[in-house]
Symmetry: C2
Subunit: 584 residues, 2 copies
Amino acid sequence: MRWTESLIPTMKETPEGAEIPSHILMLRAGLITQVMAGAYTYLPLGLRSLHKAIAIVREEMNRAGAVELLMTAICPISLYEQTNRVEAFGDVLVKATLPRAGRKVPVVFCPTHEEEVTSIVAKFINSYRQLPLTLYQIQTKFRNEERPRFGVLRTSEFLMKDAYSFHTSLESLDKTYKKMYNAYSIIFSRCGLPFLPVEAESGPIGGDASHEFMIPSPNGEDKVVTCPQCGYAANTEKAEIGEFRPAADTAEPKKLTELETPDAHTIEQVCKFLKVKPHKLIKTLIYVADGKPVAILVRGDHDANENKVKRSLNVKTLELADAATIQTVTGAPVGFAGPVGLSIPVYADNMLQGCVNMVVGANKADKHLVGVCYERDFKAEKFADLRDAVAGDPCSRCSGTLAIKQAIEVGHVFKLGTKYSESLGAKFLDDSESQQTIIMGCYGIGINRIIAGICETSYDENGIIWPVNLAPFEAVICLIKVDDTVIAEAEKLAAALEANGCDVLIDDRDARPGVKLKDADLVGFPMRIVMGPKGLENGEVEIKWRWEKEPTITPLNTAAEKISSMLKVEREKSERFKRKSDSK
Amino acid sequence: MRWTESLIPTMKETPEGAEIPSHILMLRAGLITQVMAGAYTYLPLGLRSLHKAIAIVREEMNRAGAVELLMTAICPISLYEQTNRVEAFGDVLVKATLPRAGRKVPVVFCPTHEEEVTSIVAKFINSYRQLPLTLYQIQTKFRNEERPRFGVLRTSEFLMKDAYSFHTSLESLDKTYKKMYNAYSIIFSRCGLPFLPVEAESGPIGGDASHEFMIPSPNGEDKVVTCPQCGYAANTEKAEIGEFRPAADTAEPKKLTELETPDAHTIEQVCKFLKVKPHKLIKTLIYVADGKPVAILVRGDHDANENKVKRSLNVKTLELADAATIQTVTGAPVGFAGPVGLSIPVYADNMLQGCVNMVVGANKADKHLVGVCYERDFKAEKFADLRDAVAGDPCSRCSGTLAIKQAIEVGHVFKLGTKYSESLGAKFLDDSESQQTIIMGCYGIGINRIIAGICETSYDENGIIWPVNLAPFEAVICLIKVDDTVIAEAEKLAAALEANGCDVLIDDRDARPGVKLKDADLVGFPMRIVMGPKGLENGEVEIKWRWEKEPTITPLNTAAEKISSMLKVEREKSERFKRKSDSK
């Protein structure tokens, strides 16, 4: 392929509005172009990388026994009403009305396909003999983003590999879950991504039922909690915090005092008004747990974690109390709840054990208490891990200390249970002819994020550094001078490389050599071959890996063979993972 | 691949609502399933065929020098406003409003991509040095169908290969147009489709500027005009009608008489009221041509063709006159115009030469004239070909007679000219630094229609008959008994075939042999291999082409080799076309 026959609009300057490396580099390298906020066209080079990622995903999904289908983007809104997801998705759900003969048909553009796939399975599966089954597709999803940003990391239209598995038992689900987890590890390895699988919230099925595949990156929107000592990794929602290791609080307990705090109901306002730091405050959150009001205490600089609260209290439903309930329970309007004198059960986060001289709401409008000490002024039913982890927390698995990293989510595996099969009537007859609900798992990969993930983590000041497996082209031949002789030699070399399974772009533009070398670095082709009349006279070309500084001179007559074998070695590097037996 | 690990829901009965062969067979063979009216999911077997069609299309587009990109489905409606296509598409255009931070963004789901691609080219192309360029994508289009029907032939969501070419000159456009025409012929040949390229309306660029690729089929929605004698083929809109060959009209001219025809303004009403056949009526259509009223006469059983009228009158604009103009010009309300006594220029279709005893409007409300004869009662400025062709018309190229066939449109190549580049500002600087408008062509293939086209034209009473190149699997191994020995032998044979580049499905269902053989015919795998314990004892399997009646017994130990070579020969049959030189 020749550069002049394609559309590769590289740019020298950082485009306006682009802030993070992947966005800047993908625009500058001519991989994508913006159609509108949150919508990007993949230009020829970007699409080549996308296709390579798709091929890897497809190959590994097939190998893991999943079967591909292609569902529609349009789907009647009624399907989403059956699962109560019209409201749940809110403005994220892209809706339209189709004028059909005599009526208006409301539809959604699917943001995911649990509804469609489950209704297909409900239609066609009726016996345990037809299970297990794993279906997947590589298809465009639509999710309106209120504030689209970060280039292709968060867009309203994106390519997703979504898989759904269907089972007669939790054991069967577990088996497929492991297969998918394993396939994901292989996929991201082959893509050259420095991925980190982290534990995520498990949802309806307890236990070890959900993992996110994260790419640590300073510009990631997600946070992961890791323990550098034992390797434990989870998202902040899920991360378990180890046993409390209190430092002796040597402060002298002060007198409990009530202060006027007019109009100060937020942590920020109270801190400002009383001139204290947030960690000296206690947040008192009034929840309704299984219908009964409870108070949850966490430190002012911490966030309560509802899933942890639910598990710790062993309740099925948990909702923040409304203003009326808060008034009844605390005797004060929202913003002034505190544990002192409260008559409902109080549960406190571990970190509040033995706390002294804290600030809490006074259960009176516009009043707070200061000098509050545990035991002397209030007591909790129990201390537990009730909050999101923060950096510096103790690890729950070892004596290490948790760290927090920003990360990009590229994949998610999840044991769904029967949420969708219940709502959509996906049942099967078991071997005793009794009807059961199908158990499901779901498994997603954001294909565009694979590409953005590379560009976000593998670059230098000159541009992207592609791994061979995903590079738009594995090699570029930069022509120092564009004349018939040089082009003929370049075409000959390209043909020889292609015959060996390499893909090559010839930069035949009528441009200065400097421009071509800069663009080769910017786009980030792994192998750069420089060819000019002078070198050709000596029977030589210059070759260089993108990540090396200096080129090597190599004889033209053996160049194809040498480069092919170098690329082969490089390709094999990304295949260095343990592939578990493919047998079932 | 094993049948039990996939989802292949074959059906015995014709599904409700399915009327045409492709719809019935694709549902019964488990290739597709309906999500809602006009939206179908491709199940695993259907998707395999779709992928094979995509691969052929992609290969030939690349070979023809087109470069692939992937544009977004969502696009701001403003782009369509710039080209005046919001109104032109009407209810076909699928629109949505995206709630973004603080505002509502109106978007369309693209029904085609002239707007998007032209705006991309306008952004990045500015010099003649960057042209010509042909961009294509294989992408999902959205077009609301008021009455979706015919299964996957007409749906609201479909996969299209759309290509757009950009040029500095008409000569360059012509070159690419020919390349695309040639590529399309090869694509449909390789897909095993009995295609017919027909001339279509040329639009802004005159001459030989548009062709449709049609699959003749009794259930096609389109009509094509062909001459069995010389091979001339065009759609009804474009088809030229040969010189008028009048049969002597021996009828005695009657007296011109005015009759009351109360409330009869349509051809049908007048015929019924006066008890005459439509071919004895003259339709008088009042048009405004380049701002001036004219009357166009065609026989009552014919349809005027506005493109032919425009060309014949050599005018730029042509619009049907409104009621007020008709009243002014004819002195009567709509429905009673006639040529007798009309003071505006009159143009008549060739077929009206020498007509006698016709019925025409009397230019008075509720009155018609009968016994109208050409020359005696009215005259025309000129006779010309002003109407759509009908069966029995003379061919314009030879002495043959035109026939009309129903057909399915699977592709279209079109010289666009500068319509979109003008509206969207796609310009280039020519070699003298003067700014010019880019000249465009566009080229579409309905990928789903390739699949439906096969199912509509290649089947028998038992099911689909796939050409090897597009079959979901080239071969099926039907197991007469499912036990470990038979499965092991089947897997061995499948592996050997796969190693030779064949794809094979093993029907390992716990079902009666009759069911499996029926399903093999219904799905229509080209090669059926029957394997059972008895045959295996004798070291034999049965093989049969889908289109043959009786199977052949073949030794198991040479079966893989034999079947592979049979499939290879069959594959090569569909490659029997002349491939023009790939050089430019």
